[in-house]
């Protein structure tokens, strides 16, 4: 087991999980974190799913990276997902590198790090693994499941697997099946990692490759307009061009920083495995080519949110989910939020988005509590 993540909160799942690839795993750890207090009748739980490079530390200071949690804008006391009111649960995904069972862990059979011998996992496997946490906490029905990007995919997978386990579902800036463009961009990142001579070497990590993967991905999280406004052609040092390949432009320096920062906290093989899981995600195919069938059984109330400048998971792809839900008569609300911050909007301070999220949860919470009183 990895030293840094040794002392994190974990549940060792003693049951066998049959993975989509056909292999089975058992006695595997899933690291998770909770915020707020679970009420007496265990009805205020919100399961938050993290995106590709997130982890269980949603808000507050992440004890490993010492940085703020990835959804600090949305989750916390009196925030949209109010931890004074709700009990927030988030688990590190299967295949991740923040304490959950992943390629960075030691294979007990060989006593070596799994690396690329770790089984290929899917979004479905990732969601099934998190269900064990809910069982462990004794939560039968969540107030909500929520997540953006890959977190949104997990929301969709969750409600299709467990149609009666969430009062509401909030898939944000996501897609029901990964597009060719999404797969292409992920492949670019994987190739960067695999082209690094340190990849698969013992006692070495493909930092350069992982950094390039992160740089490329980071561009896809922003919008052209946002980049232009923030950086334009601004130079790193005042004065003139250096006529070299150093980071002349601020945008170059920014991306290099993003890349080098990332390798300190993320495992290259986890990046391979998780991006693969995203690429394999095709909920429509899981339900014989009819996405509506994925939601046929669900009683959950949906709130789907997209962002106007998100070109990675554009409004049109979010709307396909809305259409499928409407086709089966599900309870669905949908809004596209105006923002120039691109795909990353869901992680940032976008007041209209946070307000919508907060009020939707409030109304769901009130509805459930009113029903009980009657």
């Amino acid at each position: 087991m990895n030293n840094k993540t040794k002392n994190l909160k974990k549940l060792v799942i003693d049951q066998t999980l049959l993975l989509d690839c056909g292999k089975t795993i058992k006695n595997f750890p899933i690291a998770y974190e909770t915020y707020g207090v679970l009420n007496k009748n265990k009805s205020n739980g919100i399961l938050v799913f993290h995106a590709l490079t997130g982890d269980q530390f949603v808000t507050g200071i992440n004890p490993i990276t010492k940085r703020e949690g990835w959804w600090t804008y949305a989750v916390g006391p009196e925030k949209a997902i109010d931890t004074k009111k709700y009990f927030v649960i988030c688990a590190n995904v299967l295949g991740g590198c923040m304490g959950s069972f992943g390629p960075k862990e030691i294979n007990p059979e060989t006593n070596k790090i799994f690396s690329t011998t770790f089984p290929v996992i899917t979004i479905k496997d990732i969601v099934k693994a998190q269900k064990f946490i809910l069982d462990h906490l004794g939560i039968k029905k969540l107030l909500a499941v929520a997540g953006g990007s890959m977190g949104g995919m997990q929301v969709l997978q969750f409600v299709s697997l467990y149609p009666n386990m969430a009062h509401s579902a909030i898939p944000i800036a996501c897609s029901a099946s990964h597009s060719a463009q999404n797969i292409a961009l992920n492949e670019l990142g994987r190739q960067a990692i695999m082209a690094d001579p340190n990849w698969k070497k013992e006692n070495a990590t493909p930092d350069k490759g992982l950094a390039v993967a992160r740089m490329a991905a980071h561009i896809t999280y922003l919008s052209k307009q946002g980049l232009q406004e923030k950086f334009g052609r601004k130079l790193q040092d005042k004065g003139s061009l250096k006529f070299s390949f150093d980071a002349d432009f601020q945008i170059e320096s920014y991306l290099r920083y993003q890349g080098s920062n990332f390798v300190d906290r993320f495992d290259a093989n986890s990046y391979l495995y998780i991006t693969r899981a995203m690429d394999y995600f095709d909920l429509e195919k899981q339900f014989d080519g009819n996405l509506s069938n994925a939601f046929k059984e669900t009683k959950s109330k949906f709130c789907i949110i997209s962002f106007s400048s998100d070109w990675l998971y554009p409004t049109s792809e979010n709307k396909e989910i809305v259409i499928a839900l409407n086709a089966c008569g599900a309870n669905v609300g949908f809004v596209e939020i105006n923002s120039d911050k691109g795909h990353d909007s869901f992680l940032l301070n976008v007041p209209e988005f946070l307000k919508t999220l907060k009020e939707f949860l409030n109304s769901t919470y009130d509805e459930i509590n009113n029903e009980k009183r009657i």
């Binding site: 259409i323 939020i337 105006n338 009020e359």
Partner: protein, 197 residues
């Protein structure tokens, strides 16, 4: 809640599925949900209004009726409501076809262009009529296809659309339109409300 919504809500029976097309801030939906236990859905093109609806816990999707109605299955609602918006569509007849396809019954309300004040305005002033229900200038009006109660009557006849109920509103007073009084109501009513299928 405005009188028109009261009339519409009285037509709608309890516990039925209702789609409100152009639901605005969700006033009618909220009333139907709370007081008549209707299972409501809404469609609204304006973002800020959709956000208001979502914060009220109403399932409203952002979108334009001329594009979005296709996605709803045949007869998937007991009632589809279209309040004072028919005249604003590029293709009102196609929208109406979609409403009739989706709903077992459809409730349509229209501002009556045959209203006497409108007739007089054009006759004597010679400029495009501006009234309480149609408060726009010719250059900024969203209303592309104004019609009168009589026009709508004739349209339904021509398209073989069955009118189950037709009412009109004048000075907050509600009355029934019949084949006999349509000529008269077309002059003295501000608004027509039709239940069709």
């Amino acid at each position: 809640m405005k009188k028109e919504f009261k009339v519409i809500s009285q037509i709608i029976k309890n516990n039925k599925r209702v789609l409100d097309v152009g639901c605005g801030d969700g006033t009618l939906m909220e009333y139907l949900k709370k007081n008549q236990q209707n299972d409501v859905r809404g469609l609204e093109p304006k973002k800020n209004l959709v956000q208001i609806c979502i914060s009220k816990g109403l399932p409203v999707i952002e979108g334009d009726a001329e594009k979005e109605l296709m996605q709803f299955p045949k007869k998937s609602f007991d009632y589809v409501v279209l309040s004072q918006t028919l005249q604003a569509f590029l293709n009102p007849d196609e929208v109406l076809n979609q409403l009739l396809r989706i709903g077992k019954q459809t409730i349509v309300s229209i501002p009556n262009f045959g209203y006497w004040k409108i007739r007089l305005h054009l006759l004597f002033k010679g400029t495009m009529p501006i009234t309480k229900n149609i408060p726009y200038d010719w250059y900024n009006t969203p209303n592309l296809h104004m019609c009168s109660i009589k026009d709508f009557f004739n349209f339904c006849k021509k398209k073989n659309i069955k009118i189950d109920k037709s009412m009109c509103l004048t000075n907050e007073k509600i009355s029934e339109i019949t084949n006999k009084n349509v000529q008269y109501k077309n002059i003295f009513s501000e608004l027509g409300i039709f239940l069709i299928e």
